[in-house]
Protein backbone atom coordinates (compact mmCIF):
# COMPACT_ATOMS: atom_id res chain seq x y z
CA UNK A 1 0.00 0.00 0.00
CA UNK A 2 2.93 2.36 0.69
CA UNK A 3 3.99 1.98 -2.93
CA UNK A 4 0.57 2.79 -4.37
CA UNK A 5 0.17 5.67 -1.94
CA UNK A 6 3.63 7.04 -2.83
CA UNK A 7 2.90 6.87 -6.56
CA UNK A 8 -0.49 8.53 -6.04
CA UNK A 9 1.09 11.27 -3.89
CA UNK A 10 3.78 12.17 -6.45
CA UNK A 11 1.23 12.20 -9.30
CA UNK A 12 -1.07 14.43 -7.25
CA UNK A 13 1.89 16.71 -6.49
CA UNK A 14 2.70 16.96 -10.20
CA UNK A 15 -0.89 17.93 -11.05
CA UNK A 16 -0.89 20.61 -8.35
CA UNK A 17 -0.77 24.23 -9.52
CA UNK A 18 -3.03 26.59 -11.41
CA UNK A 19 -2.35 25.26 -14.94
CA UNK A 20 -4.42 22.06 -14.84
CA UNK A 21 -7.62 23.64 -13.43
CA UNK A 22 -7.22 26.61 -15.79
CA UNK A 23 -6.93 24.38 -18.88
CA UNK A 24 -9.93 22.34 -17.70
CA UNK A 25 -12.03 25.48 -17.15
CA UNK A 26 -11.12 26.79 -20.61
CA UNK A 27 -12.02 23.43 -22.19
CA UNK A 28 -15.35 23.35 -20.33
CA UNK A 29 -16.14 26.91 -21.44
CA UNK A 30 -15.20 26.05 -25.04
CA UNK A 31 -17.35 22.92 -25.03
CA UNK A 32 -20.29 24.82 -23.53
CA UNK A 33 -19.96 27.35 -26.37
CA UNK A 34 -19.78 24.56 -28.96
CA UNK A 35 -22.91 22.99 -27.42
CA UNK A 36 -24.77 26.32 -27.67
CA UNK A 37 -23.72 26.74 -31.32
CA UNK A 38 -24.81 23.18 -32.13
CA UNK A 39 -28.20 23.84 -30.48
CA UNK A 40 -28.68 26.99 -32.53
CA UNK A 41 -27.82 25.03 -35.69
CA UNK A 42 -29.94 21.91 -34.98
CA UNK A 43 -31.52 21.53 -31.54
CA UNK A 44 -32.42 17.84 -31.92
CA UNK A 45 -29.01 16.46 -32.89
CA UNK A 46 -26.99 19.04 -30.88
CA UNK A 47 -26.21 16.79 -27.85
CA UNK A 48 -25.06 13.89 -30.05
CA UNK A 49 -22.98 16.14 -32.30
CA UNK A 50 -21.33 17.94 -29.37
CA UNK A 51 -20.54 14.72 -27.53
CA UNK A 52 -19.44 12.60 -30.51
CA UNK A 53 -17.34 15.33 -32.11
CA UNK A 54 -15.94 17.84 -29.66
CA UNK A 55 -16.04 16.02 -26.30
CA UNK A 56 -15.21 12.37 -26.96
CA UNK A 57 -13.60 12.93 -30.36
CA UNK A 58 -11.13 15.65 -29.43
CA UNK A 59 -11.27 17.12 -25.91
CA UNK A 60 -11.32 13.97 -23.77
CA UNK A 61 -8.41 12.15 -25.50
CA UNK A 62 -6.38 15.36 -25.49
CA UNK A 63 -7.06 16.10 -21.81
CA UNK A 64 -6.27 12.48 -20.87
CA UNK A 65 -3.03 12.76 -22.88
CA UNK A 66 -2.04 15.96 -21.08
CA UNK A 67 -2.93 14.51 -17.66
CA UNK A 68 -0.88 11.40 -18.42
CA UNK A 69 2.11 13.46 -19.57
CA UNK A 70 1.88 15.65 -16.46
CA UNK A 71 1.53 12.81 -13.94
CA UNK A 72 4.46 11.00 -15.58
CA UNK A 73 6.59 14.20 -15.43
CA UNK A 74 6.80 14.21 -19.27
CA UNK A 75 8.81 10.99 -19.27
CA UNK A 76 8.27 7.23 -19.33
CA UNK A 77 5.82 5.87 -16.80
CA UNK A 78 8.39 3.52 -15.25
CA UNK A 79 11.04 6.27 -15.01
CA UNK A 80 8.54 8.69 -13.52
CA UNK A 81 8.48 6.65 -10.30
CA UNK A 82 12.27 6.47 -9.91
CA UNK A 83 12.10 9.37 -7.45
CA UNK A 84 10.25 7.17 -4.94
CA UNK A 85 11.74 3.84 -6.03
CA UNK A 86 15.09 5.02 -4.60
CA UNK A 87 13.50 4.87 -1.13
CA UNK A 88 12.75 1.18 -1.52
CA UNK A 89 9.28 1.55 -2.97
CA UNK A 90 8.27 -1.15 -5.44
CA UNK A 91 8.19 0.52 -8.87
CA UNK A 92 5.19 -1.54 -9.95
CA UNK A 93 3.12 -0.46 -6.97
CA UNK A 94 4.16 3.18 -7.38
CA UNK A 95 3.28 2.98 -11.07
CA UNK A 96 -0.21 1.75 -10.15
CA UNK A 97 -0.52 4.77 -7.86
CA UNK A 98 0.45 7.13 -10.69
CA UNK A 99 -2.05 5.43 -13.02
CA UNK A 100 -4.75 5.65 -10.33
CA UNK A 101 -4.24 9.41 -10.00
CA UNK A 102 -4.14 9.80 -13.77
CA UNK A 103 -7.33 7.72 -14.24
CA UNK A 104 -9.25 9.56 -11.50
CA UNK A 105 -8.23 12.95 -12.93
CA UNK A 106 -9.07 11.97 -16.51
CA UNK A 107 -12.40 10.48 -15.45
CA UNK A 108 -13.30 13.60 -13.48
CA UNK A 109 -12.21 15.83 -16.37
CA UNK A 110 -14.22 13.70 -18.80
CA UNK A 111 -17.33 14.02 -16.63
CA UNK A 112 -16.95 17.81 -16.36
CA UNK A 113 -16.37 18.19 -20.11
CA UNK A 114 -19.46 16.10 -20.84
CA UNK A 115 -21.63 18.06 -18.42
CA UNK A 116 -20.43 21.37 -19.92
CA UNK A 117 -21.17 20.30 -23.49
CA UNK A 118 -24.60 18.90 -22.59
CA UNK A 119 -25.57 22.02 -20.64
CA UNK A 120 -24.78 24.05 -23.74
CA UNK A 121 -26.46 21.66 -26.20
CA UNK A 122 -29.74 21.32 -24.26
CA UNK A 123 -32.30 24.05 -23.70
CA UNK A 124 -32.56 25.28 -20.10
CA UNK A 125 -35.49 23.07 -19.08
CA UNK A 126 -35.06 20.23 -21.56
CA UNK A 127 -36.73 17.02 -20.28
CA UNK A 128 -34.01 14.83 -21.82
CA UNK A 129 -31.09 16.65 -20.18
CA UNK A 130 -31.03 14.50 -17.04
CA UNK A 131 -31.25 11.21 -18.94
CA UNK A 132 -28.49 12.33 -21.32
CA UNK A 133 -26.31 13.39 -18.41
CA UNK A 134 -26.81 10.07 -16.65
CA UNK A 135 -25.90 8.02 -19.73
CA UNK A 136 -23.05 10.19 -21.01
CA UNK A 137 -21.26 10.87 -17.73
CA UNK A 138 -20.88 7.11 -17.15
CA UNK A 139 -19.32 6.72 -20.59
CA UNK A 140 -17.07 9.74 -19.95
CA UNK A 141 -15.81 8.28 -16.68
CA UNK A 142 -15.08 4.92 -18.35
CA UNK A 143 -13.45 6.58 -21.36
CA UNK A 144 -11.30 8.83 -19.16
CA UNK A 145 -10.10 5.83 -17.16
CA UNK A 146 -9.33 3.74 -20.25
CA UNK A 147 -7.51 6.59 -21.97
CA UNK A 148 -5.38 7.17 -18.83
CA UNK A 149 -4.30 3.51 -18.77
CA UNK A 150 -3.83 3.49 -22.56
CA UNK A 151 -1.53 6.53 -22.54
CA UNK A 152 0.29 5.19 -19.48
CA UNK A 153 1.10 1.91 -21.26
CA UNK A 154 2.08 3.76 -24.46
CA UNK A 155 4.49 5.97 -22.52
CA UNK A 156 6.56 2.86 -21.77
CA UNK A 157 7.72 3.05 -25.38
CA UNK A 158 10.53 5.41 -26.33
CA UNK A 159 13.37 6.81 -24.29
CA UNK A 160 11.31 9.72 -22.94
CA UNK A 161 7.85 8.25 -23.29
CA UNK A 162 7.40 9.32 -26.92
CA UNK A 163 5.03 6.37 -27.42
CA UNK A 164 2.32 8.41 -25.69
CA UNK A 165 2.26 10.88 -28.57
CA UNK A 166 2.08 8.09 -31.15
CA UNK A 167 -0.73 6.45 -29.20
CA UNK A 168 -2.76 9.67 -29.50
CA UNK A 169 -2.14 9.84 -33.25
CA UNK A 170 -2.88 6.15 -33.84
CA UNK A 171 -6.09 6.41 -31.81
CA UNK A 172 -7.17 9.43 -33.89
CA UNK A 173 -6.34 7.76 -37.22
CA UNK A 174 -7.12 4.05 -36.79
CA UNK A 175 -9.78 4.42 -34.08
CA UNK A 176 -11.86 6.60 -36.42
CA UNK A 177 -12.51 3.66 -38.77
CA UNK A 178 -15.07 0.88 -38.42
CA UNK A 179 -13.01 -2.09 -39.66
CA UNK A 180 -11.14 -4.67 -37.58
CA UNK A 181 -8.20 -2.24 -37.50
CA UNK A 182 -10.21 0.04 -35.21
CA UNK A 183 -10.90 -2.66 -32.59
CA UNK A 184 -7.73 -2.25 -30.44
CA UNK A 185 -8.23 1.50 -29.96
CA UNK A 186 -10.52 3.10 -27.34
CA UNK A 187 -12.01 5.71 -29.70
CA UNK A 188 -13.98 3.20 -31.78
CA UNK A 189 -15.67 1.68 -28.71
CA UNK A 190 -16.42 5.02 -27.08
CA UNK A 191 -18.06 6.10 -30.35
CA UNK A 192 -20.08 2.86 -30.35
CA UNK A 193 -21.29 3.52 -26.78
CA UNK A 194 -22.44 6.99 -27.80
CA UNK A 195 -24.56 5.49 -30.57
CA UNK A 196 -22.09 6.01 -33.42
CA UNK A 197 -20.84 3.54 -36.03
CA UNK A 198 -19.49 0.41 -34.23
CA UNK A 199 -16.09 -1.03 -34.98
CA UNK A 200 -16.26 -4.44 -36.64
CA UNK A 201 -20.06 -4.39 -36.02
CA UNK A 202 -19.65 -5.04 -32.31
CA UNK A 203 -22.66 -4.54 -30.06
CA UNK A 204 -22.68 -1.86 -27.36
CA UNK A 205 -22.32 -4.52 -24.66
CA UNK A 206 -19.25 -5.81 -26.49
CA UNK A 207 -17.88 -2.25 -26.62
CA UNK A 208 -17.97 -2.11 -22.79
CA UNK A 209 -16.15 -5.45 -22.68
CA UNK A 210 -13.64 -4.25 -25.28
CA UNK A 211 -12.92 -1.10 -23.26
CA UNK A 212 -12.44 -3.22 -20.13
CA UNK A 213 -10.09 -5.54 -22.01
CA UNK A 214 -8.05 -2.59 -23.37
CA UNK A 215 -7.78 -1.20 -19.82
CA UNK A 216 -6.67 -4.54 -18.34
CA UNK A 217 -4.20 -5.16 -21.18
CA UNK A 218 -2.68 -1.70 -20.79
CA UNK A 219 -2.38 -2.01 -16.99
CA UNK A 220 -0.85 -5.48 -17.27
CA UNK A 221 1.59 -4.36 -19.95
CA UNK A 222 2.68 -1.35 -17.84
CA UNK A 223 3.26 -3.49 -14.76
CA UNK A 224 5.00 -6.36 -16.57
CA UNK A 225 7.38 -4.05 -18.44
CA UNK A 226 8.55 -2.42 -15.21
CA UNK A 227 11.24 -3.77 -12.88
CA UNK A 228 10.44 -4.11 -9.18
Amino acid sequence: MTGIWSGFAIARGRLRGPTAPLVLCLCCAGLFAIGVLERQSDAISAPDDALGGAVFGIALPLVAYLVSARTCAETRLDRSVDCVARYGVNRRAALCGVLLASALSSALAGALLTVSALLGAHAAHSPTLLADLRASVGIAVAAGTVYALYFGAASQLGKRGGGRKWALIVDFVLGAGSTALAVPWPRSHVRNLLGGVPAFELSQASAWVALALIAVACLTSSVVRTAE
Binding site: C83, Y87, G88
Partner: protein, 311 residues
Protein backbone atom coordinates in the same frame (compact mmCIF):
# COMPACT_ATOMS: atom_id res chain seq x y z
CA UNK B 1 29.12 -7.93 6.54
CA UNK B 2 27.74 -6.02 3.54
CA UNK B 3 29.48 -5.95 0.18
CA UNK B 4 28.80 -3.94 -2.95
CA UNK B 5 30.14 -5.47 -6.17
CA UNK B 6 30.39 -4.16 -9.71
CA UNK B 7 30.87 -7.11 -12.04
CA UNK B 8 31.96 -6.26 -15.59
CA UNK B 9 29.78 -3.17 -15.60
CA UNK B 10 29.69 -1.14 -18.79
CA UNK B 11 27.38 1.82 -18.80
CA UNK B 12 27.59 5.18 -20.60
CA UNK B 13 31.35 5.59 -20.56
CA UNK B 14 32.13 3.31 -17.61
CA UNK B 15 34.45 0.73 -19.11
CA UNK B 16 34.32 -2.84 -17.81
CA UNK B 17 34.14 -1.84 -14.16
CA UNK B 18 35.10 -4.63 -11.76
CA UNK B 19 35.21 -3.42 -8.18
CA UNK B 20 34.22 -4.57 -4.75
CA UNK B 21 33.49 -2.41 -1.71
CA UNK B 22 33.21 -3.90 1.77
CA UNK B 23 32.01 -2.15 4.94
CA UNK B 24 33.95 1.05 5.62
CA UNK B 25 34.62 4.29 3.82
CA UNK B 26 35.61 4.28 0.16
CA UNK B 27 36.29 7.41 -1.83
CA UNK B 28 36.36 7.35 -5.61
CA UNK B 29 38.22 10.33 -7.01
CA UNK B 30 36.97 11.51 -10.37
CA UNK B 31 34.79 14.12 -11.96
CA UNK B 32 31.33 13.63 -13.42
CA UNK B 33 32.84 13.39 -16.89
CA UNK B 34 34.90 10.45 -15.58
CA UNK B 35 31.65 8.67 -14.67
CA UNK B 36 31.53 9.25 -10.90
CA UNK B 37 27.85 10.29 -11.00
CA UNK B 38 26.92 7.17 -12.97
CA UNK B 39 28.88 5.01 -10.53
CA UNK B 40 26.74 6.24 -7.62
CA UNK B 41 23.50 5.88 -9.59
CA UNK B 42 24.39 2.32 -10.54
CA UNK B 43 25.45 1.42 -7.00
CA UNK B 44 22.23 2.82 -5.52
CA UNK B 45 20.03 0.97 -8.04
CA UNK B 46 18.78 4.07 -9.80
CA UNK B 47 20.15 2.87 -13.14
CA UNK B 48 20.22 -0.56 -14.70
CA UNK B 49 23.70 -1.29 -16.14
CA UNK B 50 23.78 -1.71 -19.91
CA UNK B 51 25.90 -4.80 -19.35
CA UNK B 52 27.33 -6.50 -16.28
CA UNK B 53 25.84 -6.60 -12.80
CA UNK B 54 25.77 -4.48 -9.67
CA UNK B 55 25.10 -6.48 -6.52
CA UNK B 56 24.61 -5.47 -2.92
CA UNK B 57 24.97 -8.59 -0.78
CA UNK B 58 24.35 -10.68 -3.89
CA UNK B 59 21.14 -8.89 -4.93
CA UNK B 60 20.75 -6.33 -7.74
CA UNK B 61 19.35 -3.15 -6.15
CA UNK B 62 17.92 -1.99 -9.51
CA UNK B 63 15.35 -4.78 -9.51
CA UNK B 64 14.86 -5.39 -5.80
CA UNK B 65 12.86 -2.88 -3.79
CA UNK B 66 13.82 -4.29 -0.36
CA UNK B 67 17.51 -3.92 -1.21
CA UNK B 68 17.01 -0.30 -2.27
CA UNK B 69 15.37 0.34 1.10
CA UNK B 70 18.78 -0.41 2.70
CA UNK B 71 20.49 2.22 0.55
CA UNK B 72 20.72 5.95 1.21
CA UNK B 73 22.01 7.99 -1.70
CA UNK B 74 22.73 11.47 -2.99
CA UNK B 75 23.04 11.80 -6.75
CA UNK B 76 24.78 14.40 -8.89
CA UNK B 77 21.44 15.91 -9.80
CA UNK B 78 18.72 15.85 -7.20
CA UNK B 79 15.04 16.76 -7.28
CA UNK B 80 12.82 16.67 -4.23
CA UNK B 81 9.45 14.95 -4.39
CA UNK B 82 6.62 17.24 -5.53
CA UNK B 83 5.15 19.04 -2.52
CA UNK B 84 4.16 22.54 -1.43
CA UNK B 85 7.25 23.10 0.72
CA UNK B 86 10.53 21.44 1.65
CA UNK B 87 9.13 19.89 4.85
CA UNK B 88 6.31 18.36 2.79
CA UNK B 89 8.75 16.95 0.23
CA UNK B 90 10.99 15.47 2.94
CA UNK B 91 7.87 14.12 4.68
CA UNK B 92 6.80 12.34 1.47
CA UNK B 93 10.26 10.78 1.16
CA UNK B 94 10.17 9.62 4.78
CA UNK B 95 6.72 8.13 4.30
CA UNK B 96 7.95 6.28 1.19
CA UNK B 97 10.83 4.98 3.31
CA UNK B 98 8.39 3.87 5.97
CA UNK B 99 10.33 5.93 8.52
CA UNK B 100 8.70 7.20 11.67
CA UNK B 101 10.90 10.31 12.12
CA UNK B 102 9.53 13.73 11.27
CA UNK B 103 10.67 15.89 8.35
CA UNK B 104 11.40 18.87 10.59
CA UNK B 105 13.55 16.69 12.85
CA UNK B 106 15.59 15.47 9.86
CA UNK B 107 16.14 19.04 8.66
CA UNK B 108 16.89 20.28 12.16
CA UNK B 109 19.53 17.59 12.76
CA UNK B 110 21.40 18.78 9.67
CA UNK B 111 21.02 22.45 10.59
CA UNK B 112 18.58 23.00 7.72
CA UNK B 113 15.45 23.82 9.73
CA UNK B 114 15.22 27.24 8.06
CA UNK B 115 14.46 25.51 4.73
CA UNK B 116 11.39 23.71 6.07
CA UNK B 117 8.80 26.28 4.97
CA UNK B 118 10.52 27.25 1.72
CA UNK B 119 8.88 26.36 -1.59
CA UNK B 120 10.66 23.50 -3.34
CA UNK B 121 10.79 25.46 -6.62
CA UNK B 122 12.81 28.29 -5.02
CA UNK B 123 15.72 26.05 -3.99
CA UNK B 124 19.02 26.16 -5.85
CA UNK B 125 20.44 22.83 -7.10
CA UNK B 126 23.06 22.95 -4.30
CA UNK B 127 20.42 23.52 -1.62
CA UNK B 128 18.39 20.65 -3.06
CA UNK B 129 21.44 18.39 -2.80
CA UNK B 130 22.03 19.54 0.78
CA UNK B 131 18.47 18.54 1.70
CA UNK B 132 18.87 15.20 -0.09
CA UNK B 133 22.09 14.69 1.89
CA UNK B 134 20.34 15.45 5.18
CA UNK B 135 17.73 12.84 4.26
CA UNK B 136 20.38 10.26 3.35
CA UNK B 137 22.34 10.88 6.54
CA UNK B 138 19.19 10.58 8.66
CA UNK B 139 19.01 6.88 7.79
CA UNK B 140 20.00 5.19 11.07
CA UNK B 141 21.38 1.90 9.71
CA UNK B 142 21.82 1.78 5.95
CA UNK B 143 23.77 -1.06 4.35
CA UNK B 144 25.10 1.36 1.74
CA UNK B 145 25.53 5.11 1.76
CA UNK B 146 26.23 6.10 -1.86
CA UNK B 147 27.03 9.79 -1.96
CA UNK B 148 28.08 11.90 -4.91
CA UNK B 149 30.37 14.73 -3.76
CA UNK B 150 29.03 14.95 -0.19
CA UNK B 151 31.44 17.75 0.73
CA UNK B 152 30.33 19.97 -2.14
CA UNK B 153 27.39 21.15 -0.02
CA UNK B 154 29.54 22.12 2.95
CA UNK B 155 28.60 25.67 3.78
CA UNK B 156 24.91 24.80 3.72
CA UNK B 157 25.47 21.69 5.86
CA UNK B 158 28.36 21.71 8.33
CA UNK B 159 31.43 19.64 7.46
CA UNK B 160 31.57 18.27 11.01
CA UNK B 161 28.02 16.94 10.72
CA UNK B 162 28.73 15.25 7.37
CA UNK B 163 32.10 13.77 8.35
CA UNK B 164 30.93 12.78 11.83
CA UNK B 165 27.81 11.01 10.55
CA UNK B 166 29.74 9.25 7.79
CA UNK B 167 32.36 7.93 10.19
CA UNK B 168 29.61 6.83 12.59
CA UNK B 169 27.76 4.91 9.85
CA UNK B 170 31.03 3.42 8.64
CA UNK B 171 31.87 2.27 12.17
CA UNK B 172 28.43 0.63 12.41
CA UNK B 173 29.28 -1.56 9.41
CA UNK B 174 27.79 0.39 6.52
CA UNK B 175 29.51 0.70 3.15
CA UNK B 176 30.15 4.41 2.69
CA UNK B 177 30.88 4.98 -0.99
CA UNK B 178 31.61 8.62 -1.84
CA UNK B 179 32.89 10.35 -4.93
CA UNK B 180 35.07 13.44 -4.82
CA UNK B 181 36.42 15.52 -7.65
CA UNK B 182 38.87 17.38 -5.38
CA UNK B 183 41.80 15.63 -3.80
CA UNK B 184 41.45 17.56 -0.56
CA UNK B 185 37.82 16.40 -0.26
CA UNK B 186 38.99 12.83 -0.77
CA UNK B 187 41.61 13.29 1.95
CA UNK B 188 39.00 14.73 4.36
CA UNK B 189 36.58 11.88 3.73
CA UNK B 190 39.33 9.38 4.55
CA UNK B 191 39.06 5.63 4.04
CA UNK B 192 40.41 3.86 0.99
CA UNK B 193 40.85 5.94 -2.14
CA UNK B 194 40.46 4.74 -5.70
CA UNK B 195 40.38 6.63 -8.96
CA UNK B 196 37.88 6.78 -11.78
CA UNK B 197 39.55 8.23 -14.83
CA UNK B 198 37.78 8.42 -18.21
CA UNK B 199 35.45 5.63 -17.08
CA UNK B 200 38.29 3.29 -16.02
CA UNK B 201 38.52 2.36 -12.35
CA UNK B 202 41.90 2.09 -10.62
CA UNK B 203 41.86 0.29 -7.34
CA UNK B 204 43.21 1.71 -4.05
CA UNK B 205 46.65 0.06 -4.11
CA UNK B 206 47.53 1.92 -7.29
CA UNK B 207 45.62 5.09 -6.58
CA UNK B 208 46.91 5.87 -3.11
CA UNK B 209 50.48 7.16 -3.71
CA UNK B 210 49.70 10.14 -5.95
CA UNK B 211 46.66 11.08 -3.91
CA UNK B 212 48.13 10.79 -0.44
CA UNK B 213 49.69 14.23 -0.40
CA UNK B 214 48.45 17.80 -0.50
CA UNK B 215 50.67 20.87 -0.46
CA UNK B 216 50.48 24.40 0.90
CA UNK B 217 52.51 27.37 -0.32
CA UNK B 218 53.47 29.47 2.72
CA UNK B 219 54.89 33.00 2.42
CA UNK B 220 56.85 34.31 5.36
CA UNK B 221 59.68 36.71 6.17
CA UNK B 222 61.54 33.95 8.07
CA UNK B 223 61.36 30.83 5.87
CA UNK B 224 64.45 29.13 7.32
CA UNK B 225 63.25 29.31 10.93
CA UNK B 226 59.71 28.22 9.99
CA UNK B 227 61.05 25.32 7.88
CA UNK B 228 63.14 24.13 10.82
CA UNK B 229 60.11 24.20 13.09
CA UNK B 230 57.76 22.54 10.56
CA UNK B 231 60.23 19.76 9.75
CA UNK B 232 59.75 18.48 13.32
CA UNK B 233 55.93 18.66 13.26
CA UNK B 234 54.42 15.13 13.23
CA UNK B 235 51.51 15.95 10.91
CA UNK B 236 53.73 17.49 8.21
CA UNK B 237 55.26 15.00 5.80
CA UNK B 238 57.75 17.31 4.10
CA UNK B 239 58.96 20.88 3.75
CA UNK B 240 60.55 22.37 0.61
CA UNK B 241 62.33 25.69 0.49
CA UNK B 242 62.73 26.64 -3.16
CA UNK B 243 64.39 29.92 -2.11
CA UNK B 244 63.03 33.38 -1.47
CA UNK B 245 60.31 33.89 1.11
CA UNK B 246 58.21 30.86 0.24
CA UNK B 247 57.95 27.34 1.63
CA UNK B 248 56.06 24.40 0.16
CA UNK B 249 54.65 22.27 2.97
CA UNK B 250 53.37 18.74 2.34
CA UNK B 251 50.81 16.80 4.36
CA UNK B 252 47.89 14.45 3.98
CA UNK B 253 44.95 16.71 4.72
CA UNK B 254 44.66 20.31 3.71
CA UNK B 255 42.72 21.76 6.64
CA UNK B 256 44.81 20.10 9.36
CA UNK B 257 47.97 20.99 7.42
CA UNK B 258 47.02 24.67 7.38
CA UNK B 259 46.10 24.54 11.07
CA UNK B 260 49.45 22.95 11.89
CA UNK B 261 51.43 25.52 9.86
CA UNK B 262 49.63 28.43 11.54
CA UNK B 263 49.98 26.85 15.00
CA UNK B 264 53.71 26.22 14.58
CA UNK B 265 54.31 29.72 13.19
CA UNK B 266 52.43 31.26 16.10
CA UNK B 267 54.43 29.18 18.58
CA UNK B 268 57.67 30.60 17.12
CA UNK B 269 56.16 34.10 16.72
CA UNK B 270 56.81 33.92 12.97
CA UNK B 271 54.55 36.06 10.81
CA UNK B 272 52.88 34.38 7.81
CA UNK B 273 51.91 36.81 5.05
CA UNK B 274 50.19 34.37 2.66
CA UNK B 275 48.93 30.80 2.73
CA UNK B 276 47.73 29.14 -0.45
CA UNK B 277 46.85 25.59 -1.45
CA UNK B 278 49.27 24.31 -4.08
CA UNK B 279 47.40 22.96 -7.11
CA UNK B 280 49.12 19.95 -8.69
CA UNK B 281 50.53 20.84 -12.10
CA UNK B 282 48.94 19.41 -15.25
CA UNK B 283 52.17 17.53 -15.91
CA UNK B 284 51.99 15.94 -12.47
CA UNK B 285 48.38 14.91 -13.00
CA UNK B 286 49.16 13.51 -16.43
CA UNK B 287 52.12 11.61 -15.02
CA UNK B 288 49.97 10.25 -12.20
CA UNK B 289 47.30 9.12 -14.65
CA UNK B 290 49.88 7.52 -16.93
CA UNK B 291 51.42 5.77 -13.94
CA UNK B 292 48.05 4.43 -12.84
CA UNK B 293 47.23 3.18 -16.30
CA UNK B 294 50.65 1.56 -16.60
CA UNK B 295 50.30 -0.06 -13.19
CA UNK B 296 46.87 -1.45 -14.07
CA UNK B 297 48.17 -2.72 -17.38
CA UNK B 298 51.18 -4.38 -15.72
CA UNK B 299 48.96 -5.97 -13.10
CA UNK B 300 46.51 -7.30 -15.71
CA UNK B 301 49.43 -8.59 -17.76
CA UNK B 302 50.91 -10.29 -14.71
CA UNK B 303 47.56 -11.90 -13.86
CA UNK B 304 47.19 -13.06 -17.47
CA UNK B 305 50.68 -14.55 -17.49
CA UNK B 306 50.15 -16.43 -14.21
CA UNK B 307 46.80 -17.78 -15.49
CA UNK B 308 48.54 -18.98 -18.65
CA UNK B 309 51.27 -20.68 -16.54
CA UNK B 310 48.66 -22.45 -14.40
CA UNK B 311 46.82 -23.79 -17.46
Amino acid sequence: MSELRFLGVQHAGLANLNASFAAGTHVVVGSESDGSGRLIELGAGRLEPESGRVLLDGVAPWSHAQTRRRIAAVFASETLLPARDVAGAVGLSLRALGAARSARQVLDDAGLAHFADKRVSTLTPRETRAIALSLALSEPAPALLALHEPLSVVGIVSADFVLGTLSERSAKGAIVLCTASRLEDAARLGGSTSVLSHGAWHEPAFARPPLGSVALRVRTAEPRRLAARLSEAPDISGVEWPGGHELIVHGSELESLARSVVGNARAEAIRITALKAEEPSLDALAAARAGLAQATYERARGAGASAARQS
